[in-house]
């Protein structure tokens, strides 16, 4: 049989294989540029945007029942990019909290900006290295210790948009997501004393480092001024087993998200801490590609998300069957399940010093031990994208 290609000598094969492995490894480590980096558009100055006269609130306001920033439906108007741009966006898990981004895709708001978005499911901590290397463009999830550490080790990642807060957070007459405890764990089950909560066994999938534990402690400190979270007995339990643990008494308290808490809204259980009122504890993160390479594309992304909130997710959107159907499809859940809970207050703004307060609490709890002072907010948060989108600054 004739061969047209001479076989590679044995000695050279080793180096060839080594070279291939090295190039694959380096490509994986350094990463290629995202499609966003090819967009030529320049970022405009912040100018007034019609319909967004109320598109900014006092970022220090954390009052119960505060109203979020809003523009009129359809605002801010689309400003399509000069050429199509494809973005890759990660979502920690598909839930209603991510509806602004998911609906911006399914209801065509990204398309109006000449954007197309590919979603991937990835925990925030795994998404951050990809964001910093430009392999992902944005990520939707909660504030995470990984964000604080990312800034500390010099990765280019910032929180650019908030996500939501429960409309009744801080109001204990309304049953809702939060820290739920067994009544029989308290000395007086008929009127549980919040101060006893610090001695009960809390369940958590990630120990004290979860944002749920953070807000529960922060909220309990408001109710019990001398509340001490340092010695809090937190028991490590997988998320999937949390409700079982609470029911069979392996733990006394657990942070229950929507709609899991509904099964516990019975006389045997009591809501001891709601989420913090008026304060989103999650965000959309941008990485190197949108922060540094093509901020104009980041502006278009923010515009589309904010417009989606103003147009489809403002007020009690749970009463709008078409929006509910869109959310149900996007997160692959039945509408009937979504209808069991209240509409979330979607909020694109980031409250002042949320990240500082979280870090300080985690430092106090010895969850953060690598540094003693919180990483400054300006290294973690970039509000310029929603300021450009709404035309409203400071």
């Amino acid at each position: 049989m004739n061969r047209s290609v001479a076989p590679i000598p044995r000695s050279q094969r080793f180096w060839l294989v080594l070279g291939c492995v090295a190039s694959i490894a380096l490509t994986g480590c350094v990463g290629g540029p995202s499609s966003a980096s090819r967009a030529p558009d320049l970022r405009s100055d912040v100018v007034a945007v019609p319909g967004c006269e109320n598109g900014r609130t006092d970022q220090t306001d954390l009052s119960v029942g505060r109203l979020p920033a809003r523009c009129t439906a359809g605002a801010p108007a689309p400003q399509p990019l000069s050429q199509p741009v494809k973005l890759r966006v990660s979502i920690a898990f598909r839930g209603e909290y991510a509806a602004p981004v998911l609906l911006a895709q399914s209801l065509g708001e990204f398309q109006k900006e000449n954007l197309s978005v590919e979603f991937v499911t990835l925990p925030t901590s795994d998404a951050i290295p990809q964001l910093s290397q430009g392999q992902l463009d944005a990520s939707v999830g909660g504030y995470d210790l990984s964000l604080f550490n990312a800034s500390r080790i010099g990765l280019t990642v910032r929180a650019v948009l908030g996500n939501y807060y429960p409309p009744s957070a801080g109001d204990y007459s309304v049953q809702q997501t939060g820290l739920w405890c067994r009544r029989d764990a308290f000395t007086t089950p008929e009127s549980p004393n919040p101060s006893e909560t610090q001695n009960l066994r809390w369940g958590s999938a990630v120990g004290k480092s979860s944002s749920g534990i953070y807000y529960a402690i922060a909220e309990l400190k408001k109710r019990v001024p001398d509340f001490n979270g340092d010695a809090l007995p937190v028991i490590n339990i997988p998320s999937s087993e949390m409700t079982t643990g609470l029911k069979n008494g392996a733990i006394d308290c657990a942070v229950l998200i929507d709609p899991v808490w509904i099964d516990f809204a019975t006389p045997e259980y009591v809501l001891m801490a709601t989420q913090l009122p008026g304060e989103p504890l999650g965000s959309v993160l941008f990485g190197k590609s949108l922060l540094r390479d093509t901020p104009a594309v980041g502006d278009a992304f923010a515009r589309a998300v904010i417009r989606t909130i103003n147009t489809h997710l403002s007020g009690d959107y749970h009463q709008d069957p078409s929006v509910m159907a869109a959310i149900a499809t996007a997160i692959n859940q039945p509408v009937t399940l979504l209808e069991r809970t209240s509409s979330l207050t979607m909020d694109w703004e980031i409250r002042q010093d949320t990240t500082t307060r979280m870090q300080q609490e985690f430092i106090d709890l010895d969850v953060i031990t690598a540094y003693e002072h919180p990483v400054p907010e300006e290294k973690l948060v970039d509000r310029s994208f929603y300021e450009h989108a709404t035309g409203r600054t400071g």
Partner: protein
């Protein structure tokens, strides 16, 4: 030995084998080969570590995400001396505790059932299909079931590890006992050996080297399993798997790499201990057995 290929007019290839250095000077050739093998086994890891060091310090790769080996060495004492969450010593101790108990129970049940099923055809017929079906179930998936049955403490973790170890040891032990030539058994029986004597004098010596291979493989798997289980559930928030997973979640790559290296060392150490015990208890085994 070298080879020379020549073509004949009819295109048939004739292969001639000529004596090479191995045949002319076997001692020197063997020494040279050992030196090359030793150099490669040390040189390749060292070269990779140097490459990693250079890549990180010269920022060919992001040093925040891929800290250099010297950075990791500097970090290690700090992680061990820290008291937060019991420190790394607490994690190592807790993982070793789980490894020891999980391995003990898994190996014990695996050995007993393996020997019994290897000796008894009826027991084999009764249990083998069931155990073979259970063998394919991913053991990590059973953590939820064990949490429900055994509660939220060390027991479910040890149960998952023990179950994983059990299957490795059981299969290897049963096969080892069954593979003892029937002639040996027949000879013992014809000399009037009791069941105990048959086991003690024939089956055990005949199968022990193979059994220790199973125990050695299971030792490595024990460490893999404990790390996996601690990713999902780590009572007391302690354990090397918990440490690795937490470091990943909070984006502290240095801590993660240190914990991974320690887990690897733990696996090597544990496998080595089992191997040494095997060589002590079965000194008649060949070098590559037991």
């Amino acid at each position: 030995m070298s080879e020379q290929a020549t073509s004949t007019a009819t295109n048939d290839v004739v292969l001639k084998r000529l004596p090479g250095p191995a045949e002319f000077n076997p001692k020197s050739h063997s020494r040279r080969r050992r030196t090359i093998e030793l150099s490669l086994s040390i040189g390749v890891p060292v070269a990779l570590i140097i490459l990693w060091e250079l890549a990180s310090t010269h920022e060919w790769i992001n040093p925040g995400l891929y800290p250099s080996p010297t950075d990791l060495l500097r970090r290690t004492p700090e992680l061990f001396s820290s008291n937060a969450g019991g420190g790394m010593w607490g994690d190592v101790g807790k993982s070793m505790y789980r490894v020891a108990w999980g391995y003990f129970w898994g190996a014990l049940f695996g050995l007993v059932l393996g020997v019994w099923m290897g000796m008894s055809r009826l027991t084999r017929a009764a249990l083998e299909p069931l155990l073979a079906a259970m063998y394919t179930v991913p053991k990590l998936a059973l953590i939820g079931v064990f949490l429900l049955i055994l509660g939220f403490d060390e027991k479910p973790v040890i149960a998952v590890i023990a179950l994983t170890v059990f299957f490795f040891v059981w299969i290897q032990t049963m096969t080892a006992v069954m593979s003892v030539p029937s002639g040996y058994r027949d000879a013992a029986v014809s000399f009037g050996a009791t069941k105990w004597q048959l086991f003690r004098q024939v089956l055990l010596p005949g199968s022990l080297p193979q059994i220790f291979i199973g125990l050695r493989v299971a030792a490595g798997v024990t460490v893999l399993t404990v790390i996996g289980v601690e990713f999902v559930f780590a009572p007391g928030n302690q354990g090397l798997g918990y440490r690795i997973n937490t470091a990943r979640q909070i984006l502290d790559p240095g801590q993660m790499y240190v914990a991974i290296v320690i887990a690897a060392l733990l696996g090597v150490l544990f496998t080595w201990v089992v191997r040494r015990v095997g060589r002590m208890l079965a000194p008649w085994a060949k070098e590559d057995e037991g």
